[in-house]
Structures are given as C-alpha cells and as structure tokens.
C-alpha cells in the first residue's frame, strides 16, 4: 500500500487504468468525465504513453482501437451524449475482438438533459447500445478506492477476453473525494497482451480461438500481416458469408465471456444472514442504500443489501438464489427503472421485486430508501 491520499473517483479510475498498463488515451471533453482526460494528458507522457484530444467521441474510440491494434492498452472516457456517439465502434471492438476500455461517467439524460446531475440511466444502453447481438462486460464502482480497482479489472478483462469493457461510473462516485490508500505496482495483477502462439509458417490464423475461446490476433507491425474487419469473418480474419461461420462467431463471442460468468461476477453482501428483505444497489446509490439499510436494521428490520460491481453480464445466478432467500427485493436506481427488470426476470416470482426509481436529478436520501424498505417489509409480512 502507498500512503493515503485524497482523491476523486475519476482520478482513481484514471490512475488504476495506468497502473494496469494503459498507455493510450483518446477522447473528447465532457462533464462529468473530463478529469479522466485531464489526468491522462498530464500523466501518460510521463510513462511514455500517448494522450490525444480528438475531434469528437467517435474519433475518441476510433483512435484507441487503432492504438490497441498496434499493441497499446487503450482507454477512452466520456459521459451521456458522448457515450451515445461511441456505440457503433463499441460493436466494432466486440466483433473485431479489440481490447479497449470505455468509461462512461453517467449524467442525466436523455440528450443534454441535466449535464451536471447524477444518474444511472445508461444501464441498458451499456448492455444494448450498439446494434446487433454482442456480449458485454460492464463494471460499476461505489467508492473512490474501488474506482481504481475496477479500472484495473476492466483493463485486464478487455485484454483477457479481447472485448470492449465499460466502466459505469456515475457523477456521485466520479466527483466524490475520499481518502484512499492505493496498492503499489507489485501488488497489482496485470493481464498481458495476448500474443500469437504459432508462427505464420506453422499456419497461424489470426482469429483461431484458443482453449478459452479467445483468439490471439497479432499486434500490427509484428510481421504477421493480419486482416481485421467489422464484417463477420472466419478464423483467417477475412470476411465470410457462411451462415455456419456467422452462427459460430456470434455464439463464440458470447460464450468466451459467459463460460466464466461466475468468476467475473463481483458483488458484496451486507447484513444478509437473516435478511427477509434485500436491497440490490450499485454505484453511488449503493452508498445511500447502505446507510438506509443500516438505519433500518437499527430500527429492527430484517434487511440486508447486495451491492453489485459487475452490472453486465447480469448476475443471473446471484439474483435467482437471492429470490429464494428473501421475501422482498428493493431495487433503488437513479433512473426510471432499468436494472430492476433484469432482477425481476431472474427472481421469477420467487420474491416480490420492487423498483425504487429516481429521476429528479437529485441523489437518493437514506430516508427515501429506508421508507421504501419499511413499506416493502410491511407488504411481504401480510
């Protein structure tokens, strides 16, 4: 551990990314994510990396995908409107299997919305924003310290699965200042860039899946002369019109992640041992929810909390089991109700699932959540 420092969530996220090996940032300024770009502008050249301010957010993701193909671990950061602009190339990264991390410090929308107000309303966009079937990994931290850890995980997952990974920060955590102790370099586990394990002479094909279903396309400039495209392609990397190849590709893209879903599902449980009510929350809202659950416990409610770090892939098993353990599940989120639909589906009527939406551009107060807990407790007691 290094010494304690006072830091912002955005800053910790940027520092975590650099610690995990990110050496390229491209982006376009937008509140409340700009501190990440500013951090990168100062610090990347110090470690031999590149920062570039692009002409728009589409270019911001395009430039990092190019850098990633040339061998650099790369990240871009944005908020709401910029996240919308990046969607097409997020899909490109998914099908062309290019490691990249996209940070979305969520703000209230749609459109320009309430630019400086917090929200968690891009949950479904993170999952389905780009067109077509594709897998998605999205992680959401709830503390400044965890913003660092999530960044490290996101970079590692993007490299390990060769897939875009989204960090869903929200304005609350992004702009929060906390005292943190960050791990030192040797305490951080880094997943290195995957490399070809055969030569061209041995019949290397850029997109042959390895045992873990992930291919090892060579970095540009290393003599393999690969082809990379957003068209459906076979193991050679060249376009294929075959229905069989198409089906296999879409399936493999999902399977390479879903086969290890439990391993990449990160969450915490609090006060859950005897709980009859569970609050499921993430990001900034989880902070308030924790205070509310604590207060409700003091008032004698059998309530616990499940705090999700992994938002996508959806924690199917966790929620299915949770619904068997409790009578009621409350899902507070700073949106009109998004994550709750997934919880409801997984709960399959085994527990009563209640949405607590918040879309007035304010954060929850602990009291709002506590009252909703009490109401739900009374309902399920009937």
């Amino acid at each position: 551990m290094s010494e304690a420092r006072l830091m912002q969530g955005n800053e910790a996220c940027a520092e975590g990314a650099v610690a995990a090996g990110v050496r390229f940032f491209g982006g376009y300024p937008i509140t409340p994510s700009t501190e990440i770009a500013e951090y990168m502008a100062v610090n990347l050249p110090k470690v031999g990396g590149n920062f570039i301010q692009m002409e728009d957010e589409i270019a911001g993701i395009g430039v990092i995908l190019g850098a990633s193909l040339a061998g650099k671990k790369a990240l871009t950061a944005t908020s709401g409107p910029g996240f919308s602009l990046k969607q097409e190339l997020i899909g490109y990264a998914a099908i062309a299997e290019i490691p990249a991390v996209i940070v979305n410090v969520q703000r209230m929308g749609p459109s320009t919305g309430q630019p400086t107000s917090p929200a968690q309303a891009d949950i479904m966009q993170a999952r389905w924003g780009t067109h077509g079937d594709h897998p998605m990994i999205a992680l959401s931290p709830w503390t400044v310290r965890e913003s660092f850890d999530v960044a490290v995980k996101a970079v590692n997952y993007s490299e390990r699965f060769r897939t875009p990974v989204i960090i869903l920060l929200d304005e609350v955590v992004g702009h929060l200042r906390e005292r943190v102790e960050l791990p030192s370099a040797h305490e951080i586990e880094i997943y290195p860039r995957r490399m070809p394990n055969t030569t061209k002479a041995q019949g290397y094909k850029a997109y042959t899946p390895m045992e873990d279903l992930v291919p090892n396309p060579a970095n540009f400039g290393t003599g393999y002369r690969i082809h990379c495209t957003g068209l459906v392609h076979d193991e050679t990397g060249f376009p294929s019109g075959s229905p069989k190849v198409t089906e296999q590709t879409i399936h493999r893209l999902h399977e390479k992640i879903m086969r290890v879903q439990d391993e990449i599902t990160h969450y915490d449980e609090f006060f859950m041992d005897d709980a009859e009510i569970a609050v499921v929350a993430f990001g900034g809202t989880a902070r308030t929810a924790y205070a509310a659950v604590e207060a409700a416990r003091h008032a004698g409610q059998k309530v616990g909390m499940v705090r999700m770090m992994t938002i996508w892939p959806f924690a199917e098993n966790v929620m299915r089991n949770l619904a068997k353990r409790v009578k009621g599940i409350l899902v507070p989120e700073m949106n009109y109700g998004q994550y709750v639909y997934e919880v409801e589906r997984a709960a399959a009527a085994q527990a009563r699932v209640v949405s607590l939406p918040k879309y007035d551009a304010e954060v929850f107060t602990p009291d709002e959540i506590k009252q909703a807990i009490e109401k739900l407790a009374a309902e399920v007691a009937k």
Binding site: N50, E55, L65, G221
Partner: protein, 272 residues
C-alpha cells in the same frame, strides 16, 4: 525492385469489384508505389473505411484494417501514434472521406500526422448502389438525386489545403503511371499527405449518367484532367471545364507524432 504483385493476397482474389471498376487501378498504383519505395512489408499498414474502395485493404498483403464507414482516419491516427515506425496508408471513398468522415479528415490534416490518404473518388456511393456523395458534380444523377444534384460539391484538395495537409496531389485511373509517383511522393512526405485519385464507377455512376463504358469514362478523364502547369495557363472560364493534376500543394509543418515524442521527452516518459 520487388515485384508489386507480391504485395497482394492472391488467395483473396478475384476481387468483388465490377468489370471496368477503377478501384483496382488505384490499388495497383499503391502497391507499385510501395514497391518503388521498397517499404518494409511488415511495417506497413493499410487502413480503410467502408465502401467498394475500402475493400482494397483485404486484398493487400500487409497488416490491414477495414474499419467502419468514415472512421479510417481515427483508427489510422491511433496506429501511427502507438507505433510511429509504421508506414500508415489510408484508402477511402468520396462518401467515406468527405461525408461521414469529413470531420476526421480536416482534423487529421490539421494535425499534420504522418498518414498517406488515397481517396478513390468515383463521385458516387458505389457500394450502396449510386446515391449522391459530397463529390458528385452538380447536375449529375444519382438514385437520391433523380432530377440531378444541385448541392455544391467539395473540392477535396482545397479542403485538404485549408485544413493543413502538407502534401496534396491529384491523379487519375487513366494516368496510372504518374499516379504511382504521386502516391510514392505522398508516402515520403513526413506529414499528412492527400492524393485524390479519380476513378470510374461504370455501374452506379456512369450508367445512370449515360457516360458510356468504363473505357469512355477513362477517356473523358484523360481530357478533363490536365497537368497543373497547363491548367494554370487557362483562362478562368476554361478552368471550369478542367481539373489540374500532379502535385498541387506542399508545405512544411511539424509532424504530430514527432511533436508528441517531444512531449514524452519533456515529461520524462522516454526513460519510463
């Protein structure tokens, strides 16, 4: 000099282009320019967008990247900055470069980043079946301009000049031999180089505009496009009917990747 044909992925041929399409001529000129300069095949990257023209990347035996419509330049910028020792060549169409990718185009030129951009200008959206592009001349017909276009086209070389490109040239599929030299000079320029290459699209453009066969379209090109010196001798009125070819503009300006290397040095990152 190495045989330019060895720069093609012959197992990917035949190509998808229509008989008489000009894209193959422009692609061949690029391969010949690379052969002429004896570029390291393993250190040369071809990046393209989406369109008939952009399919060229898949036929060329280098590290090749077929991106999304309009986005070749941001990807190319990332490649060049991440590994400045690579030669990065961009193949793009008139829609790809000047419509959906227009913003990236002016900014890449402004940065003077060391990319060589070859615009395969067929004055139309070929791949999607003949819609008007920002380079379709006024009064020409397109599926989306059934009564003839009336919106004013760009002159892409002038756009490149205003935006800050340090090497600008125009060639055609008819003048294939000089085109090789124009591309080679562009690759040699350490900065943003732009070579507009006029090519014929008999299928989606020529036919609708009754321009005749591919050969007739090439002949047309040979008459319309004349060397810059000859063009300069024409009256203003006569110039309306012609386009100048050759090297149209050069300038000297610091190159972006080299400038960033200085920033890294200043920040101490060269020792990291």
């Amino acid at each position: 000099m190495r045989d330019y044909e060895t720069f093609f992925r012959t197992n990917r041929l035949p190509h998808i282009w229509c008989p008489g399409c000009g894209h193959g001529i422009a692609m061949k000129a690029i391969a010949k320019a690379i052969a002429k300069l004896d570029l390291d095949q393993d250190k040369t990257v071809i990046v393209s967008g989406i369109g008939c023209s952009s399919r060229a990347s898949g036929y060329m035996d280098f590290d090749t990247l077929h991106t999304a419509h309009g986005r070749a330049l941001p990807f190319a910028t990332g490649i060049k900055l991440a590994n400045p020792e690579l030669n990065v060549i961009v193949i793009t169409g008139d829609g790809d470069c000047m419509a959906i990718g227009g913003n990236h185009f002016i900014h890449a030129a402004r940065r003077n980043i060391d990319l060589t951009v070859i615009l395969f200008n067929n004055n139309i959206y070929g791949m999607t079946g003949g819609q008007a592009s920002p380079l379709t001349p006024v009064e020409k017909k397109a599926t989306t301009a059934p009564y003839g276009t009336f919106d004013r086209p760009f002159n892409p070389c002038e756009v490149a000049k205003t935006a800050g490109a340090t090497y600008i040239a125009r060639g055609t599929a008819f003048h294939a031999a000089p085109l090789v030299d124009l591309i080679a000079q562009g690759i040699q320029n350490k900065g943003f180089s732009f070579i507009e290459t006029l090519v014929q699209c008999p299928t989606s453009y020529g036919r609708r505009n009754k321009m005749g066969s591919a050969a007739a379209m090439l002949k047309d090109m040979s008459e319309t496009v004349i060397p810059l010196a000859a063009y300069n001798r024409l009256s203003t009125e006569e110039r309306n009917e012609k386009l100048p070819s050759g090297v149209l503009h050069t300038d000297v300006f610091p190159e972006y990747a080299a400038e960033y290397a200085k920033i890294i040095k200043q920040a101490g990152g060269d020792k990291a």
